[in-house]
Symmetry: C2
Subunit: 305 residues, 2 copies
């Protein structure tokens, strides 16, 4: 049960009240792949420049991540993003974005990638997402992420791809921006009416809300005493969530809920250190142990009269 | 197992994108009493003016709410608060506050009130809260609420009463304001170090976080498609939470968690209509039914390998 991710592999510059890094590994497909690889083999499709060294490439090593789809373009530079956070770690302020090799990125899937069981279209141009989707051969589950930039600049394209996938992973603020509806549940229903079966709404430090036609699941984020860098938390969440699902034979409500917890667990590790540092050092035992802590955090008993 | 609440009975003027009311019933002790009375007899200590009519008093009728402690002052007016909300219903903008009879409120407990099993000191001057606490005779559980105004104007008094109660109900923003600590868990530990055993942090539409020395419980708010008026949600929560606890022989972690759910359930009803309108029409069966819906909303199973 393999999973295909199409997205960015990047260098980030980050600044928060807890520190400053001028160049570290980042990118949606990077965070996603590491998280998903705890559960299932990953096929990564992306592009880097000549400045992405063999040492940088080590982030993927020792994991079941196939890099046949990761192009390295000679004489060009890797996608670069610079962001800053204040004490409110919920919202990054973008300082600089240099698309570099990403500006002309046009993914072509090979035979193996076309047959992927689960597909994640990370946050890229919705027309490109559609182009990738058309190259696949009937995957069991297709999910996408997006961002405010595409809601503003390509709303029609976004509406088309929203209607063509099974599952949408999106921020709370983006639901409100896309629909103009202040009530989140109503906004979610509007987006689902376009065709997707499941909407997974990321609420940062407040957790996740999953809405389908006949079920709502809400879960807080894991409360941490040390949050250093929220970069990549959303992509890590998506990786844990979809990676777990790809490893399971069925995707019923029970499995979707477990997947939400595994995604939340992985995201809670990511934010504990800068860049992918924490994600690189944890083991599946750490993940399972925090899953149990999540149960302890949220469980309550039925009421006895 | 009776519960004593000391707080405001008020008239409110409210405006939100969903409507406008020039004068309706409000006040922390009013919301609290109605919510708590679903579970346990309530003793209300407060004050109103001559303008608080017998018809207004009907809000308490048919419930086990003892009004011996509700003074009516001739020739004076009832506490009045005017507030507005925009589409973001999380934060009220105060337009006007007229203390009226509340300016000289100095609660004197009678014999029965002194012997209350559970005491809730609603949001009033922390020196008054301490004065009331000193009049009580060893209650099983004392809880308080406060607000940003007292953190700014009476921080020392607030610190003293924080150290003298068992349980503090407080907003997320107030934890950060009081401690100057952006991390909520760290801030909570700072406040608990003053003496209270349990901190219950209200996060509006994002639910509740309960922190003790050895346990954290987090729960989202019930996602509603119709939220009209968040006024009183926090006091309703406190009423359901403490009312349930007052009705139980033990206050262990299991019961505290159930109490958080009952509080959340009652608050979710309050916001569905203006003022106390929804709280007045629901039955204990409605409350029990939504408790079950809360379980369906938040439950997930253990992971199977």
């Amino acid at each position: 049960m393999s999973i295909l991710v199409v997205g960015s592999v990047a260098f980030d510059a980050l600044e928060s009240p807890f520190g400053k890094v001028d160049r570290c590994l980042g990118g949606s497909a990077t965070y996603f792949s590491l998280a998903a690889s705890f559960f299932t083999p990953v096929d990564l499709v992306g592009v880097v420049g000549e400045d992405f060294t063999d040492e940088d490439m080590q982030v993927f090593s020792g994991r079941d991540i196939n890099l046949d789809g990761l192009q390295r373009v000679a004489g060009a530079k890797t996608f670069f993003w610079s962001g800053a956070y204040d004490y409110n770690l919920n919202q990054a302020q973008t300082r600089d974005t240099q698309l570099n090799v990403f500006a002309t990125f046009k993914p072509e899937l090979n035979e193996q990638q076309r047959k992927a069981d689960v597909v994640f279209l990370a946050n890229i141009d919705p027309d490109l997402q559609m182009d990738v989707l058309r190259q696949t051969a009937g995957p069991r589950l297709v999910a996408l992420d997006t961002m405010n930039y595409w809601i503003t600049s390509k709303k029609e394209s976004l509406g088309r791809i929203f209607g063509a996938v099974d599952l949408i992973v999106i921020n709370e603020a983006e639901v409100r921006q896309y629909t103009g509806e202040p009530n989140l549940v109503k906004g979610a229903r509007q987006i689902l009416s376009l065709g997707a079966k499941t909407l997974v709404i990321k609420r940062g430090e407040y957790g996740v809300l999953m809405i389908t036609a006949d079920s709502i699941f809400a879960i807080p984020a894991y409360p941490l005493e040390s949050v250093f860098d929220p970069t990549g938390a959303g992509d890590t969440f998506a990786g844990g969530f979809l990676g777990y699902l790809a490893s399971r034979p069925t995707h019923d409500d029970r499995e979707l809920r477990r997947a939400i917890i595994f995604g939340s667990v992985l995201a809670s590790f990511t934010v504990e250190k800068f860049s992918l540092d924490r994600l690189r050092e944890i083991t599946i035992e750490d993940v399972r142990s925090r899953y149990q802590m999540f149960r302890a955090l949220t469980q309550f008993e039925d009421w006895e009269g």
